[in-house]
């Protein structure tokens, strides 16, 4: 799909912003001030960016342990994310959650939690509420290929199909659950999206590293969902560059075939988006300006976030009940 240049600039800028934030987190992580597990999105940024471009703040997006890109692609509060990672009061959960538990309702990011599969039916519940109340919003559920092995996913697809719920399932197929390859967990040659299709939801499959592909598929799916055509499921192929959890590379562990990571790095979603811009005639110095703007944005959000107060441990008991 061809995308108008202004839009493409936006999309590129978002991919770039997410990449740089994740890199910054990785750089700073060894200082032990971000005292929580982090699952970085480097290599997978285009998925969330292409999907979020078609959402508005009344939609409800639910996610998992690897949520930074999903959150940031909705233009959710950057400072609150950084503060949350640092366990500070100005974090999006006031420090209670850390990287694996994010929220920014104002932007439609309705919550991410790390028990694999847990938010899939919760997202579906949001869609059920929208349908019951004849509201026009949609729900989005991000899940991984590993998550697709949890029974609750099938139960959710079934119910979503049965009730023709306004929900988009976005499956990021990065081929790994932690250090275990897809073929060690699911029968080789079976297609995830075909299986989802058999459950009765409409299915699309595309290249998660190509922003134009993601953007186009998401546009199609979301338009159909909004038109009352029931649930959609998009499978997007992509790849995680860093280790499953933490700031480093882990290729030395040998669980990925040699050369696989390098091959995927050659298919960098950021570089791909940049090439599209150049092909569309955007000048390199214009792109550079965008990048510099992002870097400044990150620096200033980082400083502001770290100016936040440390939460008072006495407050840890608050909020267990409403």
């Amino acid at each position: 799909m061809t995308i108008v240049v202004e839009k493409l600039l936006d999309l590129y800028s978002q991919i770039h912003l997410i990449r740089r934030i994740e890199e910054k987190i990785a750089e700073e992580y060894h200082q032990q001030t971000m005292r929580c597990p982090v699952h970085l999105s480097i290599g997978q940024e285009a998925v969330a960016v292409g999907v979020s471009a078609h959402l508005n703040s009344n939609d409800r997006v639910y996610s998992n342990h690897r949520a930074h890109a999903h959150y940031l692609a909705l233009n959710a509060n950057l400072e609150s994310l950084i503060a949350e990672l640092h366990g500070l009061e100005n974090g999006c959960c006031g420090g209670r959650g850390g990287s694996m538990h994010l929220i920014d309702l104002e932007k439609g990011f309705a919550g991410s939690t790390p028990i694999v599969g847990a938010t899939v039916p919760i997202a579906m519940g949001a869609a059920f509420a929208f349908k019951q109340q004849k509201r026009s919003h949609i729900a989005v559920s991000y899940l991984g290929d590993g998550c697709f092995e949890e029974g609750v996913v099938y139960e959710s697809l079934n119910f979503a199909a049965l009730h023709r719920l306004p929900i988009l399932f976005v499956l990021e197929n990065n081929q790994y659950s932690v250090y275990t390859r897809l073929k060690q967990r699911q029968p080789e040659g079976r297609s995830i999206s075909k299986l989802a299709a058999a459950m009765g939801v409409s299915v699309l499959h595309g290249d998660g590293n190509c922003i134009d592909d993601v953007y186009g598929l998401a546009a199609q799916a979301i338009a159909q969902i909004r038109a009352g055509k029931g649930p959609y499921f998009i499978e997007l192929d992509t790849y995680r560059w860093p280790e499953h959890c933490g700031p480093s590379d882990d290729d030395h562990l040998g669980y990925r075939p040699q050369g696989e990571l390098a091959a995927w790095k050659a298919r960098c979603p950021l570089q791909y988006a940049k090439t599209l811009l150049v092909q569309a005639g955007v000048a390199l110095n214009h792109i550079q300006q965008l990048e510099q703007k992002n870097s400044k944005k990150i620096e200033s959000a980082w400083v502001k976030a770290l100016n936040g107060l440390t939460p008072n441990p006495k407050k840890a008991a608050e909020g267990v009940y409403v």
Binding site: Y29, Q32, R35, C36, P37, V38, G87, L88, G91, C93, G94, G95, R96, G97, G98, M100, H101, T113, P114, I115, V116, G117, G146, C147, E149, E150, G151, S177, V178, Y179, T180, Q184, R185, Q186, C245, G246, P247, L253, G254, Y255, T310, P311, N312, P313, K315, A316, A317, G319, V320
Partner: protein, 359 residues
């Protein structure tokens, strides 16, 4: 078996578990190990390292992220000639297994007189920013269920012996580890202890001033507090419960009858902590104490991720020492000296200086 003299060795908890699994698998070829990441490079914190090479792919398996179905599968396999060891890297993930464990495994023999020899390892992940969904203790939940055995090894030796005993037991056994035990070491005594012997509470330290009853990681916090008190001439008895599905009442009662002071230390939130059951049993039997019994447990809220917020979520040696001080009518100054004598990690959310994330 030839009677060669086995040299006594010291192992850490992880190596002890691995040895326990390996020896059990050598002795019983129906045992298989399954879990997310079992044969991966990190090998469940190292505890399954090398098992695949030793026993082959068919006995050492990875699994899909399907905890519920895999638990049912293990029950079915155990009913039909195999002995599964299922592993959850966090006890929190075992909640997806809970229906199969609580409704099926725990009831099967009661209903059908068919044994379910199944072992499930569950790791309590508390510490270093693990947050609300990766840090719960939860064993008390399972201990509420007749039909499940709950092993809570606090030392490397117990970890090894209990693993072997669990894999030799005809019942569903939940083998519950606290991650902070993994680096601890102890002398290994391979005496083929039976499950009944291993279910007896163990007096780890003798004393006359007060009794601390603890389990799992809290045993080490209790020992820490007791050692600090000993520097000031106070001998505290420390009892390791070792199992959670029953309490060795006789051992606890004998100790409390001697010391007349009782402190129970537990990893659960205060509300309905299993510690209450120990205190209640003693009280119902009319045991007389000099001072009210005290329960050191965790606050009644989830463990927040932020280490600033989580400060009070790690009630440990310090709180135990305070409870001892109350039972002994110590002055504030005396307590202060004891607290200064505790061996303390740099922050409450880690067991020692070298412990850190990300997982």
């Amino acid at each position: 078996m030839s009677d060669i003299v086995i040299e006594q060795q010291t192992l850490n908890y992880i190596d002890a578990i691995r040895e326990g699994i390996s020896e059990a698998m050598q002795a019983d070829e129906t045992i298989f190990v399954i879990g997310e990441g079992v044969p991966d490079p990190k090998a469940i914190f190292g505890s399954t390292q090398g098992l695949r090479q030793q026993f082959g792919e068919h006995r050492v398996l990875d699994m899909p992220l399907s905890e519920n179905a895999m638990t049912g599968m293990c029950i079915g396999a155990s009913l039909n000639g195999l002995k599964p060891l299922l592993i959850h890297q966090r006890i929190d993930f075992s909640l997806l297994s809970a229906d199969q464990l609580i409704n099926q495994a725990a009831k099967w023999h009661y209903l059908f007189h068919q044994a379910v020899p199944l072992v499930v390892r569950m790791i309590i992940g508390k510490g270093w920013g693990q947050g609300p969904q990766h840090s719960q203790a939860l064993w008390g939940l399972y201990a509420q269920v007749p039909g499940l055995k709950i092993f809570l090894p606090a030392t490397a030796n117990d970890a090894k012996q209990m693993m072997k005993a669990a894999l030799n037991d005809p019942n569903p056994v939940l083998f519950i580890e606290h991650r902070w035990l993994h680096h601890t070491e102890s002398l290994i005594e391979d005496n083929e202890a039976t499950i009944n012997e291993l279910s007896k509470a163990m007096v780890l330290r003798q004393g006359d001033a007060a009794t601390i009853v603890a389990s799992s990681y809290m045993v080490h916090e209790a020992l820490n507090a007791a050692q600090a008190c000993a520097q000031f001439g106070m001998e505290i008895e420390v009892i390791d419960l070792r199992v959670g599905h029953e309490f060795d009442y006789a051992t606890i009662a004998a100790s409390v009858n001697k010391t007349k002071n009782l402190i129970v230390a537990d990893l659960h939130p205060m509300h309905l902590s299993p510690g209450h059951a120990i205190i209640s049993q003693l009280m119902q039997n009319g045991i007389q104490l000099q001072t009210p019994p005290r329960l050191v447990a965790q606050p009644n809220h989830p463990v927040p991720t932020s280490w600033y917020l989580a400060e009070n979520s790690y009630q440990a040696a310090e709180a135990i020492a305070e409870a001892i001080a109350q039972s002994q009518n110590l002055t504030a100054l005396q307590l202060k000296k004891i607290l200064a004598a505790l061996s303390q990690p740099p922050r409450t959310d880690v067991p020692n200086r070298s412990f850190c994330g990300p997982f």
